[in-house]
Amino acid sequence: MKYQLQYKTYGASALLIEWPSKLQEAILQDVLHFKLKITQAKHPDIIQLTHAYHTLLVVFNPIHFNADVALKWLQHLYEATVILQETVKRLWRIPVCYDSSFGVDLETVSEEKGMSIAELIAKHTAPKYTVYFIGFLPGFLYLGGLDERLALPRRGIPRLKVKPGAVAIGGNQTGVYPSESPGGWHIIGNSPLCYFDASKTPPCFAASGDQIQFYSISLKAHAQVKVLADAGVYQIENEISDD
């Protein structure tokens, strides 16, 4: 399906393309589809191409930039039928230890939501979350698909230090902190994997459009996986996603 797109200039040499303001998987698919078309068109003057939930930012080389020409080129490309080498979508199974030593907010979340910790873990591990994009920190996956019953406003006062691997809930989103950082989400567990490694190509295992499913592991298993992950030899369970 085609959407009514809005094109806005963003500075001297960039165009921001906006889809309807919704968090919707169909919109993400169209954003990714258009992004792939642009990538495969190999425009010599495009120096950067990034997307988020419903937007795509195209940055051109300022020396040759002409907003009208760029706009027409993009509009034409969006309408054009192009045979694309579609990328394979994967489903990644991510181990998470929901032990209270990691999940420092588990109890308060469980009280707040009026459900047992076991129930909370069951609801957090049930969905296949969609990776919308990577932002905020290197390797931070923006995931869609959190069970509404787990949605919770962010903490009033953010923590100054959240540990790498912390699995957390903030608003209607869930995610994993890839590195130590300040953070205002509620921490319910920890994942021992490496989410960003600049020495690898690509530096993140997951890509936009992929799916993530968490599964619960013990403290002991967490320690074992962490040794392998830190050594860069842990194989993350994954399969080609047919959704």
Binding site: T50, H51, Y53, A198
Partner: protein, 281 residues
């Protein structure tokens, strides 16, 4: 090789930025004041993409274990070679064993040191720029040894100090483009945004500059969307946040304005308490 005897307040190796990591959440980084960094590289005979040392407020103390040629540009941080003052924008031959030191800033806030050949730090995702969690180091540390690429070009004649137009360093006018959410402001809010004189708060670094002034507004946050360095964001409580080179790749605050390249350079040269106005291009 160059030995770091003292790192200074905040000194990092930077080039023109990292273009390969935005889709993995990696900031662009790169020199804050491109104009000064490019000048430093050009004067020393490097390409504009060579890595330079960006020095902030209080410069480092460096010892050269090799003969080098250097140029310092940007803010005047009172550079001294073996205790004797040297000038900015001047092609300077430095014999092995020399010590380069800096004083406090007189003009500007950031200086750029370019060495003929360019600094050779780890290249990650297509860039030499330092950034926490991406490059092995996020700044230069005491005792570190910095390597330099062998200069390819022949030695140039040490020409006299050029007359360089540095008026931008003291300029208080930041030229801006309208950002994607500018039109969400009411006409009164737009006028206020563009009329005010702003004062830089103590919250200023390579990631963002904040100002002391508050702009009351009725804007709602946006769905998280890509941002570019130089973007002026407005929070619901009225804080203006001007994103700089190390900013995150995406943001959720309305993007009111975008600074021109020159405006980013001007702002980079301003310390806490510095003042400026916006001017629409």
């Amino acid at each position: 090789m160059i030995k770091v005897l003292h790192p200074g307040f905040y000194s990092t190796i930077q080039d023109l930025g990292r273009y390969e990591g935005q889709n993995f959440g990696v900031p662009m980084s790169g020199v804050m004041d491109r104009r000064a960094a490019i000048l430093a590289n050009r004067l020393v005979g490097n390409t504009e993409h060579a890595a330079v040392l960006e020095v902030t407020m209080l410069g480092p103390k460096l010892q050269f274990d090799v003969d080098v040629v250097l140029v310092i540009t940007g803010g005047n941080l009172q550079p001294k070679l073996n205790g004797k003052s040297i000038q900015n924008n001047k092609y300077t031959r430095v014999p092995k064993g020399s010590i380069l030191s800096f004083g406090h800033f007189i003009t500007g806030y950031r200086a750029y040191l370019s060495i003929k050949g360019g600094f050779k730090t780890a290249q990650v995702l297509g860039s030499y720029s330092m950034y926490q969690g991406v490059s092995p180091k996020n700044r230069i540390e005491k005792g570190a040894v910095l390597e330099v690429f062998k200069a390819m070009a022949q030695d140039q004649n040490a020409f006299a100090r050029l007359r360089v137009d540095e008026s931008y360093i003291s300029s208080q006018v930041l030229e801006v483009y309208k950002g994607p959410e500018f039109d969400r402001l009411s006409v009164t809010e737009q006028a206020l945004l563009l009329e005010k004189t702003y004062t830089i708060s103590k919250y200023n670094n390579r990631m963002a500059y904040q100002v002391e002034d508050v702009l009351p507004n009725g804007l709602e946050s946006i769905i998280t969307s890509p941002v570019l360095p130089g973007t002026v964001q407005l929070t619901a409580s009225g804080q203006l946040i001007i994103l700089m080179r190390d900013c995150q790749t995406t943001g959720g605050y309305p993007r009111l304005l975008l600074l021109s390249e020159t405006a980013i350079a001007i702002l980079s040269q301003k310390p806490t308490g510095g003042q400026f106005v916006f001017k629409l291009i």
